[in-house]
Symmetry: C2
DNA sequence: GTTTTTGTACTGACCAGTCAGTTCAGAAGA
DNA sequence: TCTTCTGAACTGACTGGTCAGTACAAAAAC
């Protein structure tokens, strides 16, 4: 009997196989892109037969879509956690943003391939999984937007800021800086990178003022 | 007689054909990715025969590499212009950064497909044109780094900033915000977007201080 | 008369998806 | 405990289609 959808229930064995396939697919697709990655490669890297891929997923693109959902789920949860923890501990909204920057960096540090793949596919148009991507993007950005809005509401942040645009810009700042970090100067520490971005967030770039 | 390398010289007619091919390729690859775009499609969209593609470029990936070089050349020139113009008019380095943000937005506004494609390919590893990308990326980021360094040198900017990382973060901020603008709220004006990013750059996000 | 483009046809490699058959893990019976 | 049975999970050779790149003769363009 086949399943092949977003099935939470499933034997332990099956779940393990799916996990192996996710891991194989994420690195290969990050390196080469979706179309340049063959199902045979994914199966080989995961150490299973090609048929197993199709036993577990309806198609190559379904595998990819579920991979996306899975990964962004992790990211969103981690951002939300960071924001809530800050709030619980009585931090300001700017502190929450800062904590989210760090959470983003930690995520990218742990799952660089996923991040790479996400960025590469996010702005493509005319692709099968377009709608999935939109949903999934909105989930992540919405967390940032939420904190910005709260900050504006309690006038901790200027009410002139453009919430959606600023949220996108912040996400972009972290994303690109982190990918650069991983690609071009991987020896640096997370704290280092975090400090640099924090400074930018809090406008401590200019010398005086 | 064949040519098919980075040939600056070439008849006007040939140059026109190449231009048509660039334009066709850039939109198709931005939408679908490199591997999912066929040479037949590119030829058809450009309104030329398939043989013409191979008369003008050695292969599909050579066409793509030259496209990259061509596009980033335009961007780099435009950033440099903005920085120099500001300097000539006696603006500060922060003004120069602001002008470069605007130049970046103008570029993305004019060549959204190229930008999309560039972002999608930049962090891929294991691809044929990897080295081309590295060179080309460095060209663009170097312009921003240059201005930051000058700012630090004349202590207009804090000497604690991390130049390469901050440059990457700024580029990312503009890139992602602009792609979001184009993809999700294209009705907004360039000035609007510029104002939001400018505010972020100058730390005018917090309400007080 | 030389360069560039056209159009069509072709080849050979590659690849997503299929399917008939095999293995496995654990339940039911002895 | 050991055997048999069952359905879920997995296998890998195979198929049909797609596509990069080639070939080339004839026509435009310069």
């Amino acid at each position: 009997m086949e399943r092949s959808s977003t099935t939470p229930g499933g034997s332990a064995r099956r779940e393990a196989t799916r996990q192996k396939l996710y891991e194989a697919a994420v690195t290969l697709i990050a390196e080469q892109g979706f179309s340049a990655t063959t199902v045979d490669e994914i199966a080989e890297r995961a150490g299973v037969a090609k048929g197993t891929v199709y036993y577990n997923f309806a198609s190559k693109s379904v595998l990819f879509e579920e991979l996306l959902r899975h990964g962004v789920g992790l990211l969103t949860a981690s951002l939300r956690d960071a924001a809530e923890k800050t709030a619980r501990e009585g931090g300001s909204r700017v502190d929450a943003l800062d904590a989210m920057i760090r959470a983003g960096l930690v995520f990218i540090d742990r799952y660089p391939a996923f991040t790479q793949l996400y960025v590469a596919e996010l702005w493509r148009t005319n692709r099968a999984w377009q709608s999935t991507l939109m949903v999934v993007r909105q989930q992540a950005v919405a967390v940032v937007e939420g904190v910005l809005r709260e900050g504006v509401a309690n006038s901790e942040l200027s009410e002139e800021i453009d919430v959606p645009l600023t949220a996108a810009a912040l996400v972009g700042m972290v994303l690109v800086a982190a990918l650069d970090w991983k690609s071009f100067q991987p020896e640096r520490s997370l704290d280092d990178v975090h400090a640099a971005l924090s400074r930018l967030l809090q406008g401590r770039v200019s010398g005086h003022r």
